[in-house]
């Protein structure tokens, strides 16, 4: 609870203090606020600090952060702090961008903690509405405008479907509270067939969430929106929205655990399609950003596999995967932003990197290894945990997922070609010589440390 309050107050402060001022000063403030929120939530989750009173103040049946939820809250707060800190300052006036991003993060926290369908809906809206603005925040860029309108239309559409699903579920179960629904479902499950209303409701709600996490067959907006939005916003969307979406997805599906054998059937198919489609489509992409967009679709596929496992005891696996995905994705988007020039968005931007900047090369190599799932990075351990737990439910799907991660090598390693083929290149690339933010070093170090000592995840939960 403390995290959501700090971020919200911080957002309002940044919004008003920074009105009509350049981003510079507010950048430090907002990343500090987010870091504080993340630290507090982490300490609360580890039971070092106690904010019992504050939590009692909130209506328990609407929003309730369990220990696991708090880990996700702190992860997202840290990641957003890192995103704000490492991406370069935009010269124009407009600290409101940072404020909006923090507001959007508040929505993500609401989604994570939601115990009530109305709260979940509110969370999705609070997350999305600032993002519609942010996607178009590069006002003079046509691509950005396109991304904003596309994202807005798709988002509005999917939220409407989600809301319809809530209505069906209310009709079928007579309650909107997730814990209440869970209780009733387990009773009904022993007595008779489930009402069709509930199944329809689950499908509609899942559709809405599948849109948000960009899973097959509702993924098509992602590459265009990711490409058009400013890099900072794309990173936020790819990481925070996706992780919050999956936590919300997992939390709400847990209420329908009695239906697990039914919904896992079609979730497996969707997961496999997402993995296959995302990976294959990514191979032929020309720009780094689109490749990363399709890679994030593929990762949504792996995460869908999590939803078919017994989730309650396994939330730490989702956490491990989120950490792995967030660390490497943010670093890769950072380098994409740093080295892309006005003319070159393709992999050519990395040409001669080894010659010009060795530490950047090492950081990128580790991140690419991590996102591709090669030991001893956190990407491997997370994938290992995820696949092992899904293997018990569907070995075939896991085999396809393994094949998918083999395919992913093809496009992740594309970056190595320009990076290392520098023998005959004499001119130094000016853009490569810049200093790298220390947070990037920390993130890459973390992805190795978590990869070597993976039991930290299990202990924390």
């Amino acid at each position: 609870m403390i995290g959501i309050l700090i971020v919200f107050i911080g957002a309002v402060l940044v919004l008003f203090l920074g009105l009509n001022k350049p981003e510079g000063g507010m950048k430090t403030l907002s990343s500090l606020v987010l870091f504080l929120a993340g630290m507090m939530s982490l300490l609360e989750s580890l039971s070092i600090l106690n904010f019992e009173k504050l939590s009692n103040w909130a209506p328990k049946n609407m929003i309730d952060f369990s220990k696991g939820d708090l880990m996700f809250v702190s992860l997202l707060a840290f990641v957003t702090a890192a995103i704000i800190a490492i991406f370069p300052t935009i010269e124009e006036k407009g600290s409101d961008r940072l404020g909006l991003m923090m507001l959007s993060l508040t929505g993500a926290f609401m989604m994570i903690g939601a115990d009530h369908l109305v709260m979940l809906f509110l969370g999705i809206e609070v997350l999305s509405i600032p993002l519609y603005v942010l996607a178009g925040s590069d006002k003079h860029n046509l691509r950005s405008n396109e991304a904003a309108i596309k994202y807005f239309l798709m988002g509005a559409f999917s939220t409407a479907i989600f809301l319809l699903g809530c209505a069906f579920i209310y009709g079928g179960s007579g309650s909107l509270s997730l814990s209440e629904i869970s209780l009733r479902m387990s009773i009904v499950g022993h007595l008779s067939e489930f009402p069709a209303l509930i199944k329809v409701g689950v499908i509609l709600m899942s559709t809405g969430l599948l849109f948000k996490v960009s899973a097959f067959p509702f993924h098509f907006w992602a590459p265009d929106v990711y490409e058009g939005s400013p890099n900072k916003v794309t990173t936020f969307m790819a990481v925070v929205v996706k992780i919050a979406g999956f936590v919300a997805f997992a939390n709400y599906l847990q209420a329908f655990e009695a239906l697990a054998s039914w919904y896992s059937k079609w979730l497996i198919i969707l997961a496999v399609c997402t993995i296959v489609f995302g990976n294959i489509a990514a191979i032929s992409q020309k720009t780094v950003k689109r490749t990363l967009a399709y890679s994030s679709i593929a990762h949504a596929g792996y995460l869908l596999l999590f939803l078919i496992t017994p989730m309650k005891a396994n939330m730490w696996i989702l956490f491990a995967y989120s950490v792995a995905y967030a660390l490497s994705t943010v670093v890769l988007f950072y380098f994409n932003d740093k080295y892309s020039t006005k003319r070159d968005y393709g992999f050519g931007m990395f040409s001669g990197l080894l010659k010009n900047n060795q530490s950047a090369t090492i950081l990128m190599v580790v991140s690419l290894f991590s996102i591709a799932g090669i030991p001893v990075t956190v990407g491997f351990t997370a994938k290992y945990y995820l696949f092992t737990s899904a293997f018990e439910v569907s070995p075939l799907a896991v085999c396809i997922a393994l094949l998918g991660s083999a395919i992913s090598i093809m496009y992740y390693f594309k970056a190595f070609k320009p990076m290392f083929e520098s023998a005959n290149e004499t001119n130094t690339n000016e853009a490569h010589s810049g200093k790298i933010h220390f947070v990037v070093y920390l993130m890459v170090a973390a992805s190795i440390v978590f990869g070597m000592f993976p039991y930290l995840f299990e202990r924390c939960f």
């Binding site: 093809m410 070609k417 299990e458």
Partner: protein
């Protein structure tokens, strides 16, 4: 543990000092691991009773997944090979401008030691992958041409293979009673026939790509040819042995239930590989390509010998693994010397080099004879045992496999003749003594093992008997 940590520390040191320190120093420093290894071997496997002794064991991922290292005769021989060859490979570096080569080789050494000592399924997989990373970068950074294309093919090929192995390992892991990756636990899983075929397929695919067995070899020739000499040495000298070791230690005992199903397939493919590799080797002009195909042929023989499941075949195969490592590294070393000192490695441009350096010619000849399995060189005993086992298994297969001796003599002697004898087309520059010392060590080993192979076989036979016991325990067939 020492022999994994030591190379890692050296690797980091080498990475930070860059090219300030001479490569010879690193080569000598990396001998330290060899001494550490010999000390450890004395310490643990002194009884040589075939048991895979734990030398290190801590919980890692969770309670079921430990960081366990073991040592027995087989592992001991493999890490002896690794730690003996790596310093020689480092000493073989000719230029000083490949500054990340030494750290990568040392990192590779650590990973390889891990592969051979891993006594836990997941750890085996992790080291298996870790060994791939340095060699990938060695090939990518210092390949002569088409670096990206050949290396990505090599990487994806082996990566798909290892993922298949991971799937098999996870399947076995979920079948164990208390979810553990420990070698003995995985071994005690009882599979039915269909399960065993699938699990076996996963393992076999990973190892067949690495070895490589006939239809999975297409990455090999280009990678070997384009890779820098050190990369080719690592790949053929040690990394191939990972596949063979995996076949013996992991595939055969784990999928023992279905081994009768795989036996004829693998033997057939391996024998096809023997002849195919040898025939292509005869036609090659590029020395490195020639050695690559000869390696395909030799390794096929070892795989076939393993799959006959007889004590003779497995003993011969393990001996031959050790011997092939020495010979092939020596051959690549010689090619590297010829290329840098005579300016070319194409047979059509070489000739008559023998008169420039008699010592070099003599060494070259001994290595060639060793590879061609002439009696009293190291190639002979292993090949004899392997061929005997294949003859016992099936006479016709044995006859075809036996062709390898003739074909090998053809391409090896052709290689020697066209490069060292005959008309003089190019000259050989002065070769320094420092460059000859590693070769002299290797030649001494060629003759030593050729004269007393029993020393090696004594080391490995108890562990081989134990492995054969494990295969027969899992309802496999034994001849």
């Amino acid at each position: 543990m020492e022999i994994i940590i030591l190379p890692l520390i050296l690797s980091l040191l080498a990475a930070f000092t860059g090219s300030k320190i001479n490569k010879t120093v690193w080569g000598l420093l990396s001998f330290v691991s060899l001494f550490a290894m010999i000390y450890m071997k004395q310490h643990y496997a002194i009884h040589n009773d075939g048991i895979w002794h734990n030398t290190f064991d801590v919980p890692w991922f969770s309670n079921g997944i430990h960081f366990t290292l073991g040592i027995d005769g087989l592992t001991g021989l493999m890490i002896l090979l690794t730690n003996l060859l790596v310093p020689i490979i480092i000493l073989s570096i000719q230029t000083n401008n490949q500054k990340s080569l030494i750290p990568l080789i040392l990192f590779m050494q650590a990973a390889l030691n891990g592969v051979f000592m891993a006594k836990d399924g997941l750890m085996f997989y992790i080291f298996w992958e870790l060994a791939l990373i340095p060699i990938y970068f060695i090939c990518l950074l210092y390949s002569s041409k088409d670096a990206f294309k050949t290396t990505i093919k090599f990487f994806i090929y082996t990566f798909v293979g290892s993922l298949a192995m991971l799937a098999s390992l996870i399947y076995l892991y979920l079948k164990t009673e208390n979810h553990s990756f420990a070698y003995d636990e995985l071994l005690s899983v009882q599979l039915n026939y269909t399960e065993s075929i699938w699990v076996g397929a996963g393992f076999l695919f990973a190892f067949a790509v690495k070895i490589p067995i006939f239809p999975f070899h297409s990455w090999q020739a280009n990678t070997y040819t384009n890779a820098p000499a050190q990369g080719s040495m690592l790949l053929s000298g040690i990394m191939l042995k990972m596949g063979l070791y995996g076949l013996l230690r992991w595939f055969m005992p784990m999928a023992g239930e279905s081994i009768a199903f795989y036996q004829p397939i693998v033997v057939l493919l391996a024998v096809i590989g023997i002849i195919y590799g040898a025939v292509i080797a005869i036609k090659q002009n590029d020395l490195k390509r020639l050695i690559a195909f000869s390696s395909l042929s030799h390794v096929g023989l070892i795989a076939a010998g393993f799959m006959t499941l007889s004590a003779v075949g497995i003993q011969g195969g393990v001996l031959q693994m050790f011997v092939h490592g020495i010979n092939v590294v020596a051959l690549f070393y010689i090619v590297e010397i010829i290329e840098t000192h005579a300016g070319s490695r194409e047979l059509s441009k070489l000739g008559g080099l023998a008169k420039f350096n008699r010592l070099f010619a003599a060494i070259y000849l001994i290595i060639v004879l060793g590879t061609a399995a002439v009696p009293l060189t190291n190639g002979f005993p292993g090949e004899l045992l392997l061929l005997k086992s294949i003859f016992d298994y099936n006479t016709i297969t044995g006859v075809f496999a036996g062709l390898t001796i003739i074909l090998c003599a053809v391409y090896m002697l052709r290689m020697y003749q066209f490069s060292m004898l005959g008309e003089n087309k190019t000259s050989l520059n002065e070769i320094g003594l420092m460059k000859m010392i590693p070769l002299i060590i290797l030649v001494a080993l060629v003759i030593f093992i050729g004269v007393c192979p029993q020393l090696v076989i004594d080391q490995i036979s108890p562990s081989i008997q134990k492995i054969m016991l494990e295969i027969s325990n899992s309802k496999g067939v034994l001849s």
